[in-house]
């Protein structure tokens, strides 16, 4: 069987060997946790607790009535110390609940629903997904229950479980697939139950042969397919993955459900499994702490709200002159000003890179080498878009499909002129949104 | 209505004045212009036919030509105006022919718009002098980058083969027609 792939993409140095051999360790509880009340795409939550109150692990501390939102649960038992705006990994200050952790065995989990998907009601599972505050753990943090509630007219026939983990450095999903294989499969079957689909495909890049073998062994018991995909960035981007695995093209501006499929991260499947089987809300996740700025790259099972500095300490601390702190992978992750920010639901990794990686490079004029055109997975002309962006011709950029850009960063990665293509595209998109908003008024 | 009438009157007036002024200028300058043109023609004819003293305009085989005589009234040659396409535009020539029509006695370029400094050098003496005394039978030929060996050959201008070739082609065509071949 040939490898599944798509047209375009890049091969950055993966650096996965730094942490792929490290089993997931449960990180010790930090003294204080910072839980932002907005950890997903959609409406932020309102606090349901007040300062001084004592909370139990798993108790709801924030929620919102909006549909596109997910409740937030206390990751530990403890006392609410403060509720105030704190710097959030996404770059601005967000209202957060600060909890002093206390030793307390008692948990406020939800009622377990059982572990046989055949006997469970899809609706009940969906409700549980919502109540457990599950969001897409691949990094996009879109509320999962929304994703699993397609409108009636969209017929879903395939569920794709994304285990590609195409971002360099990150190994969280890899470790999950090795260590939590049964949970992933169970979670997948539960999700399939919600969506009422028969076909489940688990997609894994061919640079993780051990995971492929392990998952294939477990998946074959339930007739679940394993698709081995070509190791190439951004193989894990939804649209690219759907194209590669089932050869369907999500229309421009559309969603996977428009082509009858739903893509979910393997981590999300584990969360679904735990929420249904154990009643455990989403309060912890696997985080890869890696990069040449870390002494011992590791994979941790960390509570949401754990300050990044705490995890880095657990990984032996920093080494060398630190240049960059990144939440997520090096291609699409977000640079952080310090390690004081907390782990949130979308934190797949903490990447520390040494200063020496950042020798000053000049930003030059585009020489039209077309490297970016070759790698763009959505077949745009990134060089042209960047020039249009520099010229501030926002409307022209729209004609050139700027809104179809998935901001994967492949273009900026290959650019020999080191142009900030993604940044220019992001600015253009923001300006276009502004213009649209103005026109509406 | 009145406005329109005024417009017509004014325009007519200006046209009339203009016509009047130009007529005067024309009457004044025309003799000079005619003289200029004749002088030029004469100069060209006498340049290509040596020993000519007078000429007479005649026509043969559909071509206008000038029969040249010396002071004692003997025909000393013919001057044949010729024209054709060059590299960039029309080239007008005056070809001088011996009475037996077998030898070219001279060549002048009347008008040309070839590349200045390149094809334009067909107007230069060094190029034109080559034609003095060459044979036009079987026809005029040109050679490149070497000395002409035969009596009917000339050397093309370096880097301007097309212009040189055009001149030779025009000459051959008109002489042929003039001879009635």
């Amino acid at each position: 069987m040939g490898l599944f792939t798509f047209k375009g993409g890049v091969h950055p140095p993966y650096q996965k060997e730094l942490s792929s051999g490290r089993a997931i360790k449960t990180a010790p509880l930090p003294k204080q946790l910072i839980v932002p009340l907005s950890q997903h795409i959609g409406a932020p939550c309102n606090p349901t607790v007040s300062v001084g109150e004592t909370v139990k692990e798993g108790q709801v501390i924030g929620k919102s009535d909006a549909f596109v939102s997910a409740p937030i649960h206390s990751p530990v038992s403890g006392k609410i110390k403060k509720i105030e705006p704190v710097l959030h990994p996404l770059g601005k200050k967000v209202m957060s609940v600060i909890i002093d952790a206390q030793e307390d065995e008692e948990k406020a989990y939800l009622e377990p629903l059982g572990d046989d998907p055949e006997k469970l009601d899809g609706k009940a599972i969906l409700e549980r997904v919502r109540d457990a505050g599950i969001v897409g753990l691949g990094g996009a943090t879109f509320p999962t229950h929304v994703k699993f509630s397609p409108p009636k007219d969209k017929k879903i026939d395939t569920l794709i479980l994304n285990g590609c983990e195409c971002e360099p450095y990150l190994t969280a999903d890899h470790r999950l697939m090795l260590e939590r294989t049964t949970d992933i499969i169970l979670g997948a079957r539960m999700i399939a139950r919600i969506l009422n689909v028969d076909r489940i495909i688990i997609a894994i890049e061919d640079n993780k042969p051990d995971a492929i073998e392990k998952v294939r062994g477990e998946a074959s018991k339930y007739g679940i397919e394993v698709a081995v995909t070509h190791t190439k960035y951004p193989q894990g981007a939804e649209k690219m993955l759907i194209k590669a695995v089932i050869d369907r093209e999500v229309p421009s501006g559309g969603l996977p459900m428009d082509v009858g499929t739903v893509v979910s991260n393997v981590g999300t499947a584990v969360a679904v499994c735990e929420a249904v089987r154990d009643g455990k809300p989403l309060i912890e996740r696997v985080v890869t702490v890696t990069g040449n700025g870390v002494k011992e790259p590791s994979n941790f099972l960390a509570r949401i709200g754990t300050p990044m500095a705490h995890l880095v300490e657990q990984a032996g601390g920093t080494t060398g002159k630190l240049g960059k702190i990144i939440m997520g992978g090096p291609m699409m992750g977000l640079a952080q000003p310090s390690l004081d920010v907390p782990v949130i639901k979308g934190t797949s990794g903490i990447l520390l890179l040494q200063m020496e990686n950042y020798m000053k490079v000049d930003y030059r004029a585009c020489i039209k080498c077309s490297f970016c055109v070759r790698v763009c997975p959505v077949h745009l002309l990134p060089s042209t878009l960047s020039i249009i962006g520099e010229a501030q011709k926002w409307e022209l950029a729209e004609k050139y499909g700027v809104n179809d850009c998935i901001e994967c960063g492949s273009c900026a990665y290959v650019c020999p002129s080191k142009r900030p293509i993604v940044q220019l595209i992001k600015t253009t998109k923001a300006k276009l949104r502004e213009i649209k908003a103005m026109e509406k008024k | 209505m009145q406005n329109r009438a005024k417009m017509i009157i004014i325009l007519t007036l200006f046209a009339l004045v203009s016509g009047l002024v130009l007529s005067v200028v024309y009457l004044f300058s025309n003799p000079f212009i005619q003289k200029n043109m004749l002088a030029e023609q004469k100069k060209a004819i006498f340049a290509v036919v040596p020993n000519a003293n007078s000429y007479e305009e005649k026509e043969k085989n559909g071509l206008k030509y000038f029969e040249c005589k010396d002071s004692s009234g003997n025909v000393v040659g013919y001057a044949l105006p010729a024209k054709g396409n060059g590299y960039q535009g029309e080239i007008k020539l005056m070809i001088g022919l011996s009475p037996d029509l077998k030898t070219i006695t001279g060549l002048e370029v009347l008008e040309q718009v070839e590349t200045p400094g390149l094809g334009g050098r067909i107007s230069e003496e060094s190029f034109l002098n080559q034609f003095k005394g060459i044979k036009d039978e079987p026809q005029v030929e040109y050679v490149k980058n070497k000395k002409p060996e035969k009596p009917n050959q000339i050397k093309a201008i370096t880097g301007a083969t097309i212009s040189s070739r055009s001149v030779v082609a025009i000459i051959n065509k008109f002489i042929k027609q003039f001879k009635g071949e």
């Binding site: 950055p12 194209k243 999500v250 240049g323 090096p330 490297f371 077949h379 499909g401 002129s417 | 097309i162």
Partner: protein, 320 residues
């Protein structure tokens, strides 16, 4: 840990090792075999031509950049590439002041007037050469015999001129090895091909361009050769003679002045190939590679527009 030292910038946070200077340097290095051979073939004067041309390019670029108060671009080696390529398409023994003027024009008119590297429409080296061709038409067609030679060495004419004006066909082996008369660096098809292999592997040149030029020239050449084998040379002769190799491999493939997409490059190359054959067989000049490339350069923006790739998830490129 000092906070101020941490860099906060947008993704992606890692970048490939490719840089403009690296690409340009690769081009220079792959040209070296042909450069060395040209010095051997035509004498030490050619080496001075290279040096003067490169120096003039660098100085001109420096002056314009200073005058326009633009960021310093000398260190990207692109001016050096232009300098070398310009000499490679000039006849050996071209007067030195001509080299200086050509290099100056190449950089100032060919490149900096448009805004410097990346913004120029035409290949700078070819602009320089086109200027010299118009300024000094005699010098640009004055050839000398190579040191190791073939039959055409007697007159010093290039194989193409010999073919066109005297009907003499040079042996293909001589053409392939480059022991023939011609412009400084265009004679050896073999060395140019060897040099460009690295660029192909690194994908620094869009392979579609040379391939489509070669295919078009071959097919058209063959067609005409079949029609009249006496008058028109065979297709291999076309491929190996004149500036076709250097044009197809190093001039047409100039990143800045070639189309962005593969499809565009095919159209671009086919256009060049077509024009080359037409000019060679029916034009007033023996060689037309330079003008063909410059002509097609002008169409690159148009080609880019019509060959825009179909955006993922849309019906057609112009659906919106």
């Amino acid at each position: 840990m000092e906070k101020a030292e941490i860099i906060v910038s947008t993704s992606p946070h890692i970048k490939s090792r490719e840089t403009v200077p690296r690409i340009m340097l690769s081009v220079i290095i792959t040209l070296l075999p042909a450069v060395a051979f040209s010095v051997y073939l035509f004498g030490i004067y050619v080496l001075f031509m290279y040096l003067v041309s490169i120096a003039t390019c660098l100085v001109s670029e420096y002056i314009v950049v200073k005058l326009r108060k633009r960021p310093f671009t000398l260190n990207d080696f692109s001016a050096v590439v232009t300098g070398i390529l310009l000499v490679m398409v000039l006849p050996p023994k071209f007067p030195m002041y001509g080299v200086v003027i050509g290099a100056f024009i190449a950089i100032v008119v060919g490149k900096q007037i448009f805004g410097g590297i990346g913004y120029n429409i035409f290949n700078p080296a070819l602009i320089g050469r086109a200027f010299l061709a118009a300024a000094y038409p005699v010098h640009i067609t004055s050839w000398i015999a190579p040191r190791i030679g073939s039959i055409s060495a007697v007159t010093g004419a290039t194989p193409l001129a010999a073919m066109k004006f005297s009907g003499v066909e040079t042996s293909l082996k001589a053409l392939f090895l480059g022991t023939v008369g011609g412009s400084v660096g265009e004679t050896s098809a073999l060395l140019l091909l060897i040099g460009s292999i690295y660029l192909f592997i690194k994908r620094y040149i869009k392979w579609q361009i040379p391939v489509s030029i070669f295919v078009t020239v071959f097919v058209l050449g063959e067609i005409f050769h079949l029609i009249n084998p006496v008058k028109y040379p065979g297709p291999i002769f076309h491929l190996l003679s004149g500036g076709l190799m250097i044009g197809a491999l190093y001039m047409a493939t100039d990143m800045v002045t070639s189309p962005l997409t593969g499809k565009g490059c095919v159209i671009f190359g086919a256009g060049i190939g077509f024009l080359v054959v037409i000019i060679r067989l029916f034009g007033g000049l023996p060689e037309g590679v330079m003008y063909s490339i410059l002509f097609m350069n002008a169409f690159v923006p148009l080609i880019n527009r019509v060959t825009r790739p179909r955006i993922f998830g849309t019906e057609a490129a112009h659906a919106k």
